[in-house]
Amino acid sequence: MNTSYLELQGIRKTFGASTVLNNVDLTIQEGELVTLLGPSGCGKSTLLRCIAGLTEPDGGRIILERKDIASLPPRSREVGMVFQSYALFPNLTVYENMEYGLKMRGVAKKERETRCEELLALVDLADKRDAFPQHLSGGQQQRVALARSLAVQPKVLLLDEPLSALDAKIRKNLRMEIREIQKRLKMTTIFVTHDQEEALTLSDRICIMNNGHIVQDGSPEALYSTPRTEFVARFMGSYNVLARTEAVRLFGQGVGSADSFALRPESVKLLPLHAEDSEGTQGDKRIVEGTIESVNVLGNIIRYFVQAEGVRLTIDILNDGRSRRSEDGGAVRLVLDPSQLLQLEKEGA
């Protein structure tokens, strides 16, 4: 059962002089939701368009259910796609939009109707059945686009930054909705985004892309807790990235052989300068002194920028109301845990 459902092998694409996709390999299991995450221009949308057949790769194989579909036109690939701008047909009503794919496939009218009614209920738009897309809100349009591509029961669903045009609140609700529908239908899905929070909450697996290849992939937890390169560490969160000399100054000589290191902001503890040493230096934890440069309250966490041993660190402390807020310029002690210090590989390794 654990065989790959969709497999990309060595996908290459260049536009003029720039290489957009550089030998991308990727395998996806049936029913999995995989996110392609990366900054704009990393090639994630191009990869998606290659799978859909809207862009022709220069080389490589795309295998869906053991069949190479790389040479098929889009309409024969059995792949559904939701576009960033939804691409709803303005001359057709919500219902007609949803029915379009079934019509093109020659599905009988009766069956079309039952299928579309089901989907209308699924995306909660039964009352908008005969409205035109331009009269719907952005979130509603997005749901129509989703339902339209699901109507033809594609083997793979591709979502190209489907939430980026919506405002924050709708975006959060809609992404949970998408995830629920995806799980219920066991729909194999590839989701493209540049928003790491979105990727973390939504995915079974995340592939981080940079400069035309996948630099790391894994479960959201794994990616967040063990970034392999500086790029991933910076992209996944507000990791402190330390050069070797900086790491040695903070942690001593035994830090390992890497050239750069990552330290999670919430792994450092702050103590007042003269506090009783309650939890301090047990085990191999280290204590250094530092000065607070600035403090930002970000809702449930407080973010400190601290200067210690000539290194500027970002430190997040849970805002539980009890923690004393230290002032700017105040002196503090930092409790550092060497086991939390991650060794990073060189870029492109």
Binding site: L54, R75, G80, P90, Q134
Partner: protein, 267 residues
């Protein structure tokens, strides 16, 4: 205070401009209904005789009919040729747009007289001898309306994001042809109608090419008007008035449609 004063200057300026622009129109209008108009600001007496005469004039009606069907044929031909061409260029060959932009300004670079010289030389002898026939005129008209058609169709395609709609339709299983007919055409239709109407009013007012290419053989409304100017001023006025009314109706429809389109796009 400054504002009210400046607005007063602007009002005067616009008033003067409108008088300047509308005076010739008004004069033609009055002349078409005037019986006696020699030495007074307004005509001394009125008549509907000229309008009546115009409609009794079989040559006027013929010229009107000729104009109408020549324009309609040319525009139908232009639509049939331009719709697929502009679609292919805008969607699949965006690199060619530079060339198309050149074609669009050609009517300014190559005025009617110049175009007529070339057309007459090309088609008055040799294998295709169509000088003086409706064919050469329809060909010339095609070139005249080309910029309007290209611009109109292209803008509509861009406004509806044709490429993306096409991609979506194809992924849902539609063939190119089917996607074009069921999705692209219905969505660009309003824009296409606007450029069609615009082209129509341009062709209706065409004189240079018509007169030089087929003036002796085919009488359009403009050629007929030109011949009538020398004979009876009042009758010519009546003809000119009906022509303006036509243009006025066209402009109003164009404006209304354009506004409606803009509103829909912004929504």
């Amino acid at each position: 205070m400054i504002k009210s004063r400046s607005s007063w200057t602007h009002r005067t300026l616009m008033l003067l401009l409108m008088i300047y622009l509308l005076l010739p129109l008004l004069a033609t209008f009055l002349y078409g209904f005037a019986k006696e108009w020699q030495t007074t600001v307004l005509p001394e007496s009125w008549t509907l005789e000229w309008i009546r005469e115009m409609f009794k004039d079989i040559r006027f009606l013929e010229a009107l009919w000729t104009s109408l069907y020549l324009c309609l044929i040319s525009i139908a031909l232009s639509l049939a040729v331009m719709l697929p061409a502009v679609f292919v260029i805008t969607v699949y060959l965006p690199k060619w747009e530079t060339f198309m932009k050149g074609l669009v300004v050609l009517p300014y670079a190559v005025p009617g007289v110049v175009a007529a010289v070339g057309l007459i030389r090309t088609y008055s002898s040799g294998p295709i001898n169509i000088a003086g026939t409706a064919y050469i005129l329809i060909g010339a008209y095609f070139v005249v309306v080309l910029p309007y058609m290209y611009q109109g169709i292209r803008n509509s395609l861009l406004t509806v994001s044709a490429v993306e709609l096409l991609n979506a339709a194809e992924l849902l299983g539609a063939s190119r042809m089917r996607a074009f007919v069921t999705i692209i055409l219905p969505n660009i239709w309003p824009g296409v109608i606007i450029s069609t109407l615009l082209s129509f009013s341009v062709l209706f007012g065409e004189f240079v090419l018509t007169n030089m290419l087929v003036g002796g053989h085919i009488q359009t409304i403009q050629v007929y008007l030109y011949q009538r100017v020398g004979e009876s001023g009042h009758l010519a006025s009546a003809i000119a008035i009906s022509y303006f009314l036509f243009i006025l109706v066209m402009s109003t429809i164009l404006m209304k449609l354009g506004k409606k389109m803009n509103r829909e796009v912004e929504r």
